[in-house]
Every structure is written in structure tokens, then in C-alpha cells.
Amino acid sequence: MSEGSASGPATAPRIRVMVVEDDARLRDHFQAILEASAQVELVARVDCGAAALRALGEITPDVLLVDLGLPDMSGLNVIRACARVHPQCDIMVISVFGDEHHVLQSIEAGATGYLLKDAMPEDLIAQIHSIHAGGSPISPAIARQLLNRNKQAQTSTGEVLAEPLSEREQSVLELVAKGYTFVEIAKLLQVSPHTVMTYVKRTYRKLQVSSKTEAVYEARKMGLLRG
């Protein structure tokens, strides 16, 4: 979970969460969920990109929840800024339906995961924990997209990955695309679930490196590999 400490959640430092969401109802909803939990701490909530950039200059969140559709700019700008200024912050994109195109764009810009807007409160907290612990959520559709990009890279058309996926990474993505969970995949490939997560992470990193992010960002990604 968090570095070093093996104590229970009550004594672990609370995860500092910043929310960037222009829909007031949704913002209040998130606020309510986050404040109700003892494990997370809402450190900032803003409703537009400019305010988000200002806030990022002043505070350092552990997890950033950002909506892509902001009134004054695209959420991708906020993601990129946060990745630049706070490399160790985990960024989750708030997505309505998790459509692959936007999710992949966000990951390219530096996001680590995505969150569905209608997630149940328990799910939200669990996902924040998960991403803070280094997990990378991936849906079958996103896995399919990544596999397609890999195929395109081999025929050198369209968007390409920085380097092609390894066989293992491909196997993992294919099983994800078939609907298997990480646990099931770990059993099928005879590795630990953590290893499976690592493969996914690596895939995301290849996606990020292929977009024009700074080398320092790569370092941050490597720093996320814990345990």
C-alpha cells in the first residue's frame, strides 16, 4: 500500500485527493463520498482548468481526479501540467462511459487510470486506493485498442507504440480483451496477479513514451513500481 508502513488503514496517512469537475452535482457527490471516508482527504476541488492549474501550483495531491470536458480548456492540459509539476501524483480521468479514445488520449497525456462517473461510492474509494497503490485499471475495450495499435505499429500505419509489445504483454492484453480478471489471468499464465498488473503498466508506459512526454515522466513511472 503506502511506502514502508504495514499498519492498518486508520494509521496510514490519508490519501490526498484533488477533484477537477465542472458539474456541480457531480462535484458535490464526489465531495460527499470522499469526506465520508477516513482513508482519503479532499485537499482541493475546482470547477475549471485555470483554477486547477493554479491549485496545482500551490498544493501537492496524491491522486488527481480530473474531468476531460472542462469549460475553459481540455482536461488533457491539466493532466499534462500535473504530470509535469507533480510526477508522483496519480491521475485518474473521470469518464462518462469509459470510451477508449478519450481514455487512451488521457493515458498518453499522463493519466494512470480512469473512473466512471456513475461509480458506486465504495468503488470510488477502492479505485483511489488501487491507483495509489500502483494499479492500472484496464477494460477489455482498451486492451483491444492497444492490441490494434500494436498491430498497426507492425504494419507501420496510423498511431504507433514506441516499441512493440512483448509476447507476454500481448497475452495479457488478449486475455483482458476476453473478459478475464487479473486473478484469472495470473492463474492462466502461472504468474502472480502483481506481475500481470506490471505487464499492463508497462503497456501503458509504452503508450505514454510514444506520445511526446518528457523523459522525466518515464522516471516517475518507474518509481511507481513498488514491492
Binding site: 458506486m120 483482458v176 473478459g179 478475464y180
Partner: protein, 631 residues
């Protein structure tokens, strides 16, 4: 390269001219224009063609040559035979020469034959009387090398049939054999070889024209030209043919009549070339030519009236008329080829007039016949006309090609445009169909749910948890619809995987264990968004049923392929009795499932017992109807 070829030409010319210069001086050739002449009457009893010796008692008188002896004045009765004697002057003969001497003449000798040369009172040379065209041939007679005296009398005798035109006596050339021969050869060329070459040229071009016409039957002028070439050759045969074919009268008939038809052919050619027709004039000309030809047949040809007056006049009239008509046509249309043709005809006409004068001895009988050379301007005019025609045809073809290309291009554009339109319509139709299906799906699922929830909230029968559950179901269904609209490429595996991904956390929370067995499924060509939605709803509802009613701990979702795709949703719950449920409240759900399966052409099989339930959906690999055709 060009310089070399020019140098070569010059050298060749020099070499050719050189031998001429190598002569010390040309040998002398005497032109004898003053002789002594005597007329000897022949009676019908004299059958010998030539006198074996010079008769005595001839009345000599000096005459100037060439001359025509007119019948009444000198010769005698019409159709009688006379022999003209010519004595060459002694002083001319006195010129000594070590080589052989010869005498030659070249003139229109229409009435004379059996020409004999006498030296020392005896015949030494004679013309070949078998030649048919001797009236046109130049004659060279050689004196023997040895004579008693070089200055001895040299005489020539001509036998004449007395006609209305009298008898012609030409002037003579006297000199060494070599000198006379070169003069003779020149005369031979102009009188015989030239016409022959002209005819050959006409025939050759005519042959080409015929070959062309055989390939392009519609191009009449070419055939007409071939005809003209043949007629021309027939017309001028008599100038150079040494032996006329038998029967000779028929030959003369053909030769004479050829002129008519030649004129008519030229007329037709001129007008057909411009693709004009003068039906009446053409018919009149053809009839006139036919009449004249018939009149000219051997029985008629003998009669002076028919032959000389009617036929000849008629022919001349036709020629003049045609020339005039073509000139008028040329002036009207101002076409170059018409002018060329008219000019050629005028030249031929002029040549004809010259020859006519020659034939009537109105001009010097030593003139060559010009008419055979009248072919050349006409040949030139023909070739000019046809060449222009060819050039025009090429231009027309090129222009036609260009316009054809243009039309093709514009037609292609039209086609492209209408194709695009068609595609646009099809797209719109497909989109509209899709939209309608979507509206129906929304109405059936989301619409119904929201409206019924709204109704219950308004009524006040507001159960918070129930409402939350219903709204969550609505969001789930909305998700399903979004999923179904995504372009999945007919990938059933992706659909089911996404569904599981979404439902997974919820099942985990409820403590349900999921066993997931997803095989590689072939892509289904009939899987459109409509069918996708139905499959998802079937699975979703089955899972919902399990959650609500089965009280199960374990769910198995599995796909199998054997001829069709089997999708199995099994649980280990309490099960139910399908028959019983059919009538009860849960029955509607089951009926719904069956209905959805039927809609997509799948079969639904429910096996339920106390140890669990198994819902099997069998999806065909192909469907007979087109995707989305059904409702």
C-alpha cells in the same frame, strides 16, 4: 552526313555530264527540207506493196518539206492509191562520211505505209508494215555501207491511200547512224515511250486507289479514279501499242468510246469528292455517253456521218461541257481541288485541240501528239484532291477523337456524380434505419424504465432503495446501448467481456463467484448494433434473474463453438420450474428472454432444477435474412 550526301550528288552529276563533254564535236545531222517529189498513180491491179525498182518517167518537182498533198490538187480520186517518190538532194548526200548513213523522219503519217528506201535504184530498207501504230512512229532507215557512189540518188517511196485530208510528207534528218539514232531515240521517247510511261503511272496509282477502295467501300472517288486510269490507258493505247488486238474495229471502238466515259468519270469524281450529287446531270451525261458508244459500234463507225460528225462532235461537246461544269463548280465552291481538276481538264482540252488540229493537218504534221501527256495534269489533280481529302480525314478523325474524349470525360463525371448521389441516398437510408432502431430500443428499455419510475415517484410510492435500483438499472441499460452502438467489428467476445467487466465488481460485492470460460469465437456477419443489444440484454437479464431469485453462490458463463455458438449462463442456485414460472410474475421475464432470442434468430433453452439453472443461447453462425432486416 548531309554534307557528304550533297558532295556525292555533285560528283555523280559531274560524272554523268562528263562523257558528253568527251566528244570532240557532235556529229553533223542534216535537216533536209527541200526535195524533189513525184507522184505515181497506182491502179488496182498493182498488188505488190512496194516497187522493186525505181520506175522511170517520174515527174520530179521541187517541194519544201514538210507538206501535205491535198487530194484535189495533186493526188487523185478519193480512195485511190498513189505512191509518192521523194528524191533526197545530191549535195546533201555528197557529204562524205566513213560510217554508215541513215535517214529518219518523225511525223503523223496517217495515210502512208510501205515506206521504202532506195539507193542506186534498188530498195535497201523498208519500214515494218506489221506495226499498227506506224502512223505515230518515227522512222529510221539505214543506207548500206557500200554504194557505187556516195552521191548517188537516194529515194524514198510512200504508199498512200487518198483520203480527204490528203497525204503527209515529212522532212528528213540525214547523218551518220549514231547521230540519226540519237535524234530518232528522242522522237521515239516523245511519241511512244512517254505515253506508255504516262499510262503506266496512271495505272499504278489507279491500282493503289482500287486497293484502298476495296477496304473502304464507301469511298467512291477512289473507285472512280481507278476507272479513270483504266479508261485513260485504253484511250491512249493506240499511240504506243505496236500490234493492235484483233478484231481491230472493236479495238478502235473501245479506244474511241473510252474518251466519253473518261469525261463522265472525271465529272463524277469531281462531284463525289465533295459528296455532292447532280442526279439529273449525271443521268444525262451517262445516257449521252451510252448513246455515243452505241453509235460508235463498228457498223456505225464506218459511216462518215456517224463517226466523224455525230460521234466526234458529241464527244467533244461532252468534254467541253464537263470541263465547263467543273469550272463553274470550282468558282462557286472555291475549293482548291476543284480548281486543280478544272485546270487539268482545261489543259487536256487544249492538248486535245492541238491534236485535233494535227490530225486535220491544220498544223505541222511533224508535231508530237500532246493528248497522251494530258494525263499528267489530271493525275496530279487527282492525287492532289485525294491527298487533301486524306489530310482532311485525318484532321476530322483527330478532332473527333478529341471531342469523343471530352464527351467521355463529361459522361464519366456525370456517372460519378450520380453514383455519389446514389451512395448518399443509401447512406441516408441506412442511417435513418439505424436511427429508427435506436429510437425503438431506447423507448423499449430506458424510456419504459424511466417513465414507470417517474410515475411511481409522482404517485408517492417512493421507495428510495427501489428507485435507486431502478435508476441504476436504467444506467446499466444505457451502457448496454452505448456498447451496442460501438463499432465492435462483429466481436461477440468483446461484448461479453465488456459486460463482465462492468458487472464484475457488483457480483463480487454480492459474494457471487464467477467462472468465466470464453472461447475464440468466429465473427458473426449478422451482428449489427440491434442484435448486439439483444444479446447483451439477454445476458444481463439472466444475470439479474440469478441475483434476484436464484440465491446462488456460483455463476458460470461459457461459450462453445460447434456448428453454432452456444452461450451458457449457469448458476447453482435454487432453480425454478419453467412451467410454473410461465404463468407467474417471473414468467414475463422468461417470455421476454425468449422473445429477444427469437428476434435475433437465436434459440433459448432453459433447463432448471433444484441444483441450479442453465440458460443456453444458441447463436447461428449465419442468418438467412440480412442484418437488421427484421424488426
Amino acid at each position: 552526313m548531309r554534307l557528304a550526301s550533297w558532295a556525292g550528288c555533285l560528283v555523280g552529276l559531274a560524272l554523268w555530264a562528263l562523257p558528253a563533254r568527251s566528244d570532240d564535236r557532235p556529229e553533223p545531222l542534216y535537216h533536209i527540207t527541200s526535195v524533189d517529189m513525184a507522184v505515181e498513180q497506182l491502179d488496182s491491179a498493182t498488188t505488190a506493196s512496194r516497187a522493186l525498182q525505181v520506175p522511170a518517167g517520174l515527174q520530179w518537182h521541187r517541194v519544201t518539206l514538210p507538206r501535205t498533198e491535198v487530194r484535189k490538187a495533186v493526188l487523185g480520186a478519193l480512195h485511190s492509191r498513189v505512191r509518192l517518190w521523194v528524191r533526197l538532194p545530191a549535195d546533201a548526200m555528197a557529204v562524205a562520211s566513213t560510217s554508215r548513213q541513215a535517214v529518219a523522219y518523225s511525223a503523223y503519217m496517217y495515210a502512208s505505209d510501205h515506206v521504202t528506201l532506195y539507193a542506186d535504184g534498188l530498195p535497201v530498207a523498208a519500214t515494218d508494215d506489221t506495226l499498227s501504230n506506224d502512223w505515230n512512229l518515227p522512222v529510221m532507215l539505214a543506207l548500206p555501207l557500200y554504194r557505187e557512189t556516195q552521191a548517188g540518188a537516194v529515194l524514198l517511196s510512200f504508199e498512200c491511200h487518198v483520203t480527204t485530208m490528203g497525204c503527209g510528207v515529212p522532212s528528213f534528218r540525214l547523218g551518220s547512224l549514231a547521230a540519226v539514232n540519237s535524234w530518232f531515240s528522242l522522237q521515239q521517247f516523245w511519241r511512244v515511250d512517254g505515253p506508255r510511261i504516262g499510262s503506266m503511272a496512271m495505272l499504278t496509282v489507279g491500282a493503289f486507289a482500287l486497293l484502298f477502295w476495296l477496304r473502304q467501300r464507301s469511298q467512291q472517288p477512289y473507285l472512280l479514279f481507278t476507272l479513270a486510269a483504266v479508261l485513260w490507258t485504253l484511250r491512249t493505247l493506240h499511240y504506243h501499242l505496236p500490234h493492235y488486238p484483233r478484231p481491230e474495229l472493236l479495238f478502235w471502238w473501245v479506244t474511241d468510246s473510252a474518251l466519253n466515259w473518261l469525261s463522265v468519270t472525271v465529272y463524277l469524281f469531281a462531284f463525289r469528292l465533295r459528296e455532292e450529287r447532280r442526279p439529273r446531270t449525271e443521268r444525262a451525261l451517262l445516257w449521252a455517253a451510252l448513246v455515243l458508244t452505241i453509235l460508235n459500234l463498228p457498223p456505225g463507225a464506218d459511216s462518215y456521218w456517224i463517226q466523224d460528225v455525230i460521234v466526234n462532235t458529241g464527244q467533244s461537246l461532252i468534254s467541253v461541257l464537263i470541263t465547263g461544269l467543273l469550272t463553274v463548280a470550282a468558282l462557286r465552291t472555291r475549293a482548291a481541288e476543284q480548281f486543280a481538276l478544272a485546270a487539268a481538264l482545261w489543259i487536256s482540252l487544249a492538248f486535245g485541240v492541238h491534236d485535233a488540229l494535227l490530225q486535220t493537218s491544220s498544223i505541222d504534221i511533224e508535231q508530237c501528239f500532246w493528248l497522251p501527256y494530258g494525263a499528267l495534269p489530271i493525275l496530279g489533280a487527282f492525287i492532289f484532291a485525294l491527298a487533301r481529302r486524306y489530310g482532311e480525314a485525318l484532321e476530322t478523325s483527330a478532332a473527333l477523337n478529341a471531342s469523343l474524349e471530352q464527351r467521355l470525360a463529361s459522361r464519366q463525371r456525370e456517372l460519378q456524380f450520380s453514383y455519389e448521389q446514389l451512395r448518399g441516398y443509401e447512406r441516408e437510408r441506412a442511417q435513418s434505419d439505424e436511427r429508427q432502431r435506436l429510437m425503438r430500443d431506447i423507448h423499449d428499455g430506458l424510456g419504459a424504465t424511466l417513465i414507470s419510475t417517474l410515475a411511481s415517484v409522482e404517485r408517492g410510492s417512493f421507495d428510495r432503495d427501489a428507485t435507486i435500483a431502478v435508476l441504476r438499472e436504467a444506467v446499466d441499460d444505457l451502457r448496454l446501448m452505448i456498447d451496442s452502438l460501438e463499432p465492435l467489428g462483429q466481436d461477440l467476445v468483446m461484448l461479453l467481456a465488456t459486460l463482465r467487466y462492468r458487472l464484475g465488481p457488483r457480483l463480487d460485492r454480492l459474494g457471487l463467484e464467477m467462472e468465466w470460460r470464453m472461447a475464440e469465437l468466429p465473427s458473426l456477419p449478422w451482428l449489427d448494433s440491434h442484435s448486439t443489444l439483444h444479446i447483451l440484454r439477454i445476458v444481463q437479464e439472466s444475470i439479474t434473474n440469478i441475483i434476484k431469485h436464484a440465491g446462488a453462490r456460483h455463476i458460470r458463463i461459457e461459450t462453445r463453438v460447434n456448428g453454432a455458438i452456444s452461450l451458457v449462463i449457469a448458476d447453482d442456485g435454487v432453480g425454478f420450474d419453467p412451467q410454473q414460472q410461465a404463468g407467474g410474475p417471473g414468467g414475463r421475464g422468461l417470455a421476454n428472454l425468449q422473445h429477444r432470442a427469437a428476434q435475433i434468430g437465436a434459440t433459448l433453452d432453459i433447463a432448471s432444477g433444484p441444483s441450479g439453472t442453465c440458460v443456453t443461447v444458441v447463436l447461428p453462425l449465419t442468418r438467412a435474412d440480412a442484418p437488421g432486416a427484421g424488426s
